[in-house]
């Protein structure tokens, strides 16, 4: 940055915290509107059923009930939007309430509105739905069979799309290979489980034709546009407000039926209508993540050089498409080669429909899957080729001087020093000593495993050419007459802390304190149209838009100051609320005076307009590609299969850092979610499509004691893509950690001949692998499931 960085790079305490630690923040459900009614949804208990009839009479007559609606009553509302553009994607439209067929457990079939939560809950049980259960298809591989039940009767089969990507000469690679190594890996379905369930509040003011929607969302503007389209209501009359949001992880990067239903009902009933998701609903009908199966096939040289990779990925999309559902697996495809030189590559993706809730973006969205597939494979390859996993990785990593690096999938990696991150991680974890300790302990019957993962991810989504609904971001920065700075961002942070990091950037530019800066987000009537917060884009893309505004404002301030000081603006500097001559700091003018001049507009230089406001719509020229190496050390209990994390070292390179405290928080939180995926989490369905992990009593997310002390380090390779040099870090932890953890457990069992295990590595799965590998008949070296 051209300006002196007094605040950027410093671990400032967050500006958003005082309200949050005192219970003074407002999440949607905390907002009180006079006379607000409560909406509830009657949901299908069947994964696949024909709805024969719905009897609403009893519910309608129950105390406190104002309305009961079925699909018939909401025909005017358009379908749930899907923005993903995939060639030849089969149609699988979802309406806000199921018409004649329910296609997953939890799909809404009727809506009830009552005066309060208690009456509502009573009335939901009184809606009588007559279902005819239909055969459900739950397993994505079975869904591909010819005789499988079809999720959508109108389609010929359950294949939603096939997508291919090829680069380099794969045939040649396989011809020249010394070895062909194959591995099948699954990345199980997860439930995002943000702490705040979704919540919606809608108000219609007929006099003003104003429809206001408060929603716990990551994408206020996209939501506004889509709601206007679904309800056929003028977008200029729709006001979306996203107040405090209790976590999203992608699950709130979507448009859901309840948002449209609440708006529709608020208009119909003339009273505000709110809907608050229960945790069970959150598990059943907020998007799920991952759920991909990969068949990896490598062409390798005996010395470990990778020649080619053929990856076949089966992605379980669920019953319908949410906003980005079909797109997510293609991100896996783009990143499948990881941080390696793989000259030829072919990815074949099959998106399949099943009778389950849709999958969509969950923290990392396609990249954790890609990284897991390639990094798990690297350890597998190392074992097959009898090489050290570190050396196999190092051998195939492009060197720093090779960047920008064009991958066989057609991406241009901006910049990197993979070896640097790897070396630092090995040093911090004392790798060589660790290996010696491991060998010594194994002799004593203690099974320690060391797992490694070197990752590259794709962030700062992204150039609009590669994004379904635009990849730019907007900002307006305004210096108010009193000298307060207002930053209006199209991004929609919900826990990441950009109220602080954006204020740090603004404070440095304008020469004020971060306390003088207010960051506004989430209110579509206040901030310019924006894309939202996801894909580790808020700082790198949203922050750059702000950067550009600040540049313009600073130049304008200097121009006015130059005029007032009668000196050349280029010789001036702005710091500590003062503008002064660089070579003679005593010659200065107070910032307030310059701001005053901008607003009173009596002494402005020629050609300078009054006011101090700048707006920017920033279109990034490329993605950014953060990278790093994580190392995990685990111990396995030979008797029970129990696993214990002994040590965790993360080295991440997210480019330049604005606030290290926030980066640390993102990395640690992401690793914790990986620990969840690796050891605890899995959405388990029975054969009929019932979600058996439908509450927190059966779906385990990590608790404090499940997480080891995380030692986190950074290398800094600024990206040339944006002037902040920042790449994004929101998802790095979930991307880097998963393979490191699984590799560690497999390594702990390596002496038994175990080469691969599928997640989640619950005690029993590990125990079974130990038993099977130890059993004399089982034959060592076999894969175990």
């Amino acid at each position: 940055m051209a300006t002196a960085t007094r605040y950027v790079g410093k671990p400032l305490k967050r500006k958003e915290d005082p309200r949050l630690i005192q219970g003074a923040a407002h999440y949607v459900d905390d907002i009180e509107l006079h006379g607000a009614l409560h909406l509830g949804i009657v949901r299908s208990p069947y994964a696949h059923a024909r709805i024969r009839s719905i009897d609403t009479a009893r519910a309608r007559n129950a105390p406190g009930v104002l309305a009961v609606l079925t699909a018939e009553d909401v025909r005017a509302i358009g379908p749930i939007p899907c923005a993903a553009q995939i060639p030849d994607l089969k149609p699988a439209p979802r309406l806000v309430l199921a018409t004649d067929t329910a296609r997953f457990v939890g799909e809404g079939v009727a809506a009830v509105v009552a005066a309060d939560r208690y009456r509502l809950r009573d009335a939901l049980d009184l809606v009588e739905v007559d279902y005819e259960a239909l055969p459900a298809v739950v397993d994505p591989e079975k869904a591909l069979r010819k005789d499988s039940p079809r999720v959508h009767a109108g389609l010929a089969d359950n294949v939603a799309y096939r997508w291919e990507l090829e680069g380099g000469d794969l045939k040649k690679a396989f011809r020249q290979a010394d070895r062909i190594v194959k591995l099948r890996i699954t990345n199980q379905r997860l439930i995002p489980m943000a702490m705040e369930p979704r919540a919606v509040l809608a108000r219609f003011e007929p006099g003003e034709d104003r429809l206001t929607l408060w929603s716990s969302s990551q994408i206020p503007h996209i939501l506004r546009t889509q709601i206007a389209a679904m309800l056929k209501f003028p977008e200029t009359g729709v006001y979306v407000i996203v107040p405090e949001v209790g976590g999203g992880f992608g699950s709130k990067l979507n448009v859901y039926p309840e948002e449209a239903l609440a708006c529709h009902l608020a208009m119909k009933l003339g009273k505000p209508v709110r809907w608050t998701e229960t945790r069970r609903e959150n598990f059943l009908c907020t998007i799920h993540g991952r759920d991909q199966i990969a068949e990896m096939e490598f062409a390798v040289k005996r010395d470990g050089a990778l020649l080619g990779l053929r990856a076949r990925i089966l992605a379980d999309l669920g019953a319908y498409y949410q906003l980005l559902t079909p797109l997510i697996p293609t991100l896996t495809g783009l990143m499948i080669g990881g941080c390696y030189r793989i000259p030829s590559l072919r990815v074949e993706i099959t998106g399949v429909l099943t009778n389950k809730m849709a999958t969509d973006a969950y923290r990392g969205a396609g990249r954790p899957e890609a990284t897991y597939f390639i990094e798990r494979s690297m350890d597998y390859l190392a074992a097959e080729l009898k090489k050290d996993p570190v050396e196999l990785r190092r051998k195939n990593m492009p060197l720093p001087k090779e960047f920008p690096y064009a991958t066989a999938t057609g991406l241009i990696y901006d910049t990197a020093n993979y070896q640097g991150a790897l070396d630092l991680a090995l040093k911090k974890v004392a790798y060589k000593k660790l290996r010696r300790d491991q060998a010594a302990l194994r002799k004593k019957g203690r099974w320690i495993g060391i797992g490694l993962s070197s990752y590259v991810e794709i962030c700062a989504l992204g150039p609009s050419s590669a994004m379904p609904a635009g990849g730019w971001e907007s900002a307006t920065v305004r210096i108010e007459p009193t000298g307060r700075v207002r930053v209006l961002t199209g991004s929609s942070p919900h826990g990441q802390g950009e109220e602080t990091s954006f204020a740090q950037i603004a404070a440095d530019f304008i020469g004020v304190s971060p306390d003088d800066v207010t960051v506004v987000h989430g209110d579509t009537s206040a901030v310019p149209y924006g894309i939202g917060t996801f894909g580790s884009r808020t700082l790198a893309v949203g922050g750059t838009a702000i950067y550009h505004c600040l540049e313009k404002l600073r130049d304008k301030l200097l121009k006015i100051a130059g005029h007032l000081l009668q000196d050349d603006p280029v010789k001036l500097e702005l710091r500590d609320k003062k503008i002064f001559l660089k070579r003679d700091p005593k010659k200065s003018i107070a910032l307030g005076e310059v701001i005053g001049a901008a607003y009173t507009a009596k002494t402005l230089p020629a050609g300078v307009a009054p006011g101090l406001e700048a707006t920017d719509f920033y279109e990034p020229s490329n993605f950014t590609f953060p990278f790093g190496t994580h190392v995990a050390v685990v111990e396995v209990d030979p008797e029970t299969g129990g696993t214990k994390l002994l040590k965790y070292v993360a080295v991440d390179d997210c480019g330049k850092v604005v606030n290290p405290l926030l980066v640390e928080g993102q990395v640690q939180g992401g690793i914790a979610q990986s620990i969840g995926q690796v050891f605890l989490e899995e959405a388990v369905f029975d054969e009929q499509g019932q979600l058996l992990t439908g509450e927190l009593m059966d779906y385990a997310v990590p608790r404090a004691a499940d997480i080891p002390w995380i030692e986190s380090f950074r290398t800094v390779t600024p990206t040339p893509v944006n002037p902040l040099g920042a790449k994004g870090v929101g998802e790095a932890g979930t991307i880097g950690a998963t393979p490191a953890l699984v590799n560690a457990v497999v390594d702990a069992l390596a002496h038994l001949g175990v080469r691969h295990l599928d997640m989640p590595l619950k005690n029993e799965r590990v125990w079974k692998a130990i038993r099977e590998a130890s059993a004399p008949a089982a034959g060592k070296g076999k894969r175990s499931k």
């Binding site: 208990p45 069947y46 457990v105 049980d125 069970r280 029975d686 009929q688 019932q690 979600l691 058996l692 439908g694 509450e695 009593m697 059966d698």
Partner: protein, 148 residues
């Protein structure tokens, strides 16, 4: 989930068969059934108040006998729905004389949905086994000559 097992009843197959086809006995033996009303041949409408410990729920549904081969085998289907969700049971009963007694082998499938599937997961199988056990116990009691 699949369940199977066997139970010995203190009477000859013919007597057991008769009991199994008597709606009054069925209503008494099927756990939680409060009433069975005929709804076509070998088909009944059932009101069920199911209870296990502190857990309880009201259901309405059907009980159906089919594929009858007297006195050897039949298929017994129940399906019921209520606020806590639904459950379906579909089982085959095979009767075989074992001395003066009858051994009933059963094999079938239980399916639950809704809240029952979510919370009850841990207990559904146990509760189902318990229900089958109760069913046979009551049936057995009905076959014993009443004292006096």
């Amino acid at each position: 989930m699949k369940l199977e097992g066997r139970y010995t009843l203190p009477a000859a197959p013919a007597a057991v068969w008769e009991r199994l086809n008597d709606p009054a006995i069925l209503a008494k033996s099927l756990p939680g059934v409060e009433s069975l009303e005929p709804d076509g041949p070998d088909r009944y409408r059932a009101r069920i108040q199911y209870r296990v410990g502190a857990i309880s729920g009201n259901f309405v549904g059907t009980v159906e006998l089919s594929e009858k081969k007297p006195p050897h085998s039949m298929r017994l289907k129940t399906s019921a729905r209520g606020a806590p969700g639904f459950f379906n049971g579909d089982g085959r009963l095979a009767l075989a004389a074992k001395g003066a007694e009858t051994e009933v082998r059963y094999a079938g499938e239980i399916q639950v949905g809704g809240m029952l599937a979510a919370l009850g997961q841990r207990m559904v199988e146990s509760a189902a086994r318990k229900s089958i056990e109760e069913f046979f116990q009551v049936l057995a009691a009905s076959l014993k000559p009443s004292p006096g």
